[in-house]
Amino acid sequence: MEPEKYREQFSSLEAEVRKVIVDHADVIRKILIAFFSGGHVLLEGVPGLGKTLLIKSLSRALGLSFKRVQFTPDLMPSDITGTQVLTESDGRREFQFKQGPIFAQVVLADEINRATPKTQSAVLEAMEERQVTVFGETYPLEPPFMVLATQNPIELEGTYPLPEAQLDRFFFKLLVSSPAPEELMEILHRTTGEALQGASQVLPNNGAEIIVEMQRLLRQVLMAPPLEDYVVRLVHATHPAAKKGDGAVPEVGEYLRFGSSPRGAQAIILGAKGNALAEGRVHVSYEDIEAVIYPALRHRLILNFQAEAENVGADQILAAVIKKVPRD
């Protein structure tokens, strides 16, 4: 695929989703970047901000199969993955695998932190391996596959916060903020009128093939060794154990228990490549790296008690890291 074609498709998808979703341009772009990078996204925001609508619109624009799973404490893993059911045909009874909602190409795991860890971990294999194992049989998931999970940051009673291992499997963690007054006005106009216009399909019916091609192109984007080195230094700087002269940041030592995993560096590089293509470039720049470092690393930094007590967030620490680590 040509870079121009990629950008054209990307812009069309972006524009289509923005027809439905007011504001959140950055969130929409990052979700698309994560999608074409082959990653999964965790959306965090209070209820009513249009997270679910955003994901539904996106899947519709992409022309991919979409399933939504509302995570509740009584949700069982088989409710997600599917299970063997006894069927009868031509007088013969046999067990047949009934696919769960995870077998869609775009899966919305709504309020993922409300399900038990057992159920949450059922999604884990699907996200990482892109396959599901039920009763000893493995079923591959149809590409492209993406999990978009949401979680509510305020209602923490009766929730099961995602363990670090599972958080690490999300490519980006995006924060959905409340709309500004003008944007709220626009939301009201769109949603309280005669009819709510949904997103239309942008990609043709063989959209999956196009998406796979776009994903392949994204990985071919040129990245200079000094920029790769910069990413390595950034990720290394998030480790509290990093030595003083090794690009260590004081805030990291003070507020972090653990730094980013190598998946964080992978997410930065792929995200930067996706950002470059979205900008119409075939090479990564420093700006691309800095544009994706927050969503790529904020859920991979494990804060310590002092950070919680002083209300210091991962974004503040990342800002310090970007400031302290030199580009060259």
Partner: protein
């Protein structure tokens, strides 16, 4: 090709870095060379010392300059980064300069090159990256100028606190000039004093000038002795000052250290050394103004006697303080000159009262005087045998032993030295105390 542009810019900037390193390195080198040449020329340091000091310095400076050049010389990567910044390349040039083409999809690389080529049309290497003198050069310049100023300042301070020998010479020349028969000599001494301040003259040249002047003064002195003229003191002072200057130059050249000015240092060193070694800041042939007076035939005046006593004490106590001793000497000489000028009444009295001929010189401590030496004075003291035998030279010995000494007989009239029962011990006694014993 964008990659070629990056290489060209890198070499362009390397030339700038080379200039920066040279400019940074030049002022201190110039200052060091100037100071070294100055010190060598004014015979402060010898050729060997100069080479020993200069070779490591120049080597170190070259090494530092090279390391600085290496530190500031931009790599291709830095050059590409600069182009990106200049043309808004969004890291296109740095990507092209550093990426390995064989690992890249050709169609993407071709597209990146096309984009970069489009941008590089706006770039003019000489115009967009002109050479500018860096701050490091100004810092180096300021530092070097500070060193020069400090050097000059120390030199000035040195010249304030350490009087130059020509400072003695010039007043002497002024004193000599009113006397018609010495006017020619005074003029030559004034010229010499002026030439001694000339930094361009080498030590050898200065020495030869001093020797010439000294010959002239000595010949004049000999003529005056024959005539019995009264201006011998001034001539002797001039001769002493010239000898001191010559000796100072020799010492300064030999030692290569000890002061700021060759002449000044030479003086200080020379006098100090003498005083340390011999207890007197003079060469055997050199005489102080006081001695010159004595030699001339007069008793030293009261003030001069006191001053001489102080001088003796100072010499005994501070034999090791070379520079101070040297300075002291020059001060004394000056003081004498002042007395000479101001105390004319005393001088007249001295001329009126006839005095015996002065001793040519005193015996120095430890020196055995020969019998019949001209002007030598001895006092023969006879001690009782008990005292002489038990004495260790320590005070209070007799008291400890319970020994009651007999009535001292040292003040008893002395036996004539040539009599058979003359005392074997002989104690040289300064002339000043002769009257007391009598």
């Amino acid at each position: 090709m964008p990659e070629t542009l990056v290489v060209r810019l890198a070499s362009h900037l390397k030339r700038h870095a080379l200039w920066d390193a040279l400019l940074w390195f030049f002022p201190p080198l110039l200052v060091f060379s100037s100071i070294a040449v100055f010190l060598y020329h004014s015979a402060w340091v010898g050729r060997e010392t100069l080479i020993v000091v200069a070779a490591p310095f120049v080597g170190l400076a070259l090494l530092t300059g090279f390391l600085r050049f290496r530190a500031v010389a931009p790599l291709r990567r830095a050059a590409a980064h600069l182009i990106d910044e200049r043309v808004g390349g969004k890291d296109r040039f740095i990507t092209l300069a550093t990426i390995q083409p064989s690992l890249c999809p050709p169609f993407l690389l071709a597209r990146l090159r096309r984009e970069a080529s489009g941008l590089m049309r706006h770039l003019d290497l000489a115009g967009d990256f002109p050479y500018r003198i860096k701050r490091s050069f100004f810092q180096s310049l300021i530092g070097s100028l500070s060193v020069v100023l400090l050097f000059l300042l120390f030199q000035q301070i040195g010249s304030i606190f350490v009087p130059a020998p020509d400072n003695e010479l010039a007043p002497l020349a002024q004193k000599l000039s009113p006397i018609p028969r010495f006017s020619e000599l005074a003029r030559s001494l004034e010229m010499l004093a002026a030439r001694m301040r000339d930094q361009g003259l080498s030590a050898a040249e200065k020495r030869s000038l001093i020797r010439e002047a000294l010959k002239r003064v000595e010949s004049q002195l000999a003529a005056e002795r024959q005539l019995g003229g009264a201006a011998n003191d001034l001539l002797n002072q001039a001769a002493g000052a010239l000898r001191g200057m010559e000796q100072g130059l020799e010492e300064g050249q030999e030692q290569g250290a000890g002061g700021l000015n060759n002449d000044q240092t030479g003086k200080g060193k020379g006098s100090g050394k003498d005083s340390g070694q011999k207890g007197s800041g003079k060469e055997p042939g050199e005489l102080s103004a006081l001695e010159i007076k004595e030699q001339k035939g007069g008793q030293p005046e009261r003030g001069e006697r006191q001053e001489m006593g102080r001088k003796q004490a100072g010499k005994n106590h501070g034999g090791g303080e070379k520079d101070e001793s040297g300075k002291e000497k020059s001060d004394e000489v000056k003081g004498m000159g002042k007395e000479e000028a101001g105390g004319k009444g005393g001088k007249r009295m001295e001329e009126e009262i006839p005095r015996g001929k002065t001793a040519e010189r005193f015996l120095r401590p430890g020196e055995q005087g020969e019998k019949g030496i001209k002007g030598a004075r001895f006092v023969t003291v006879e001690l009782p045998e008990e005292e002489a035998g038990g004495s260790t030279g320590e005070g209070g010995l007799g008291k400890r032993r319970g020994f009651r000494p007999k009535v001292p007989i040292s003040n008893a009239p002395l036996r004539p030295p040539d009599s058979p029962d003359a005392a074997p011990e002989k104690q040289p006694l300064p002339l000043e105390y002769r009257g007391l014993i009598r």
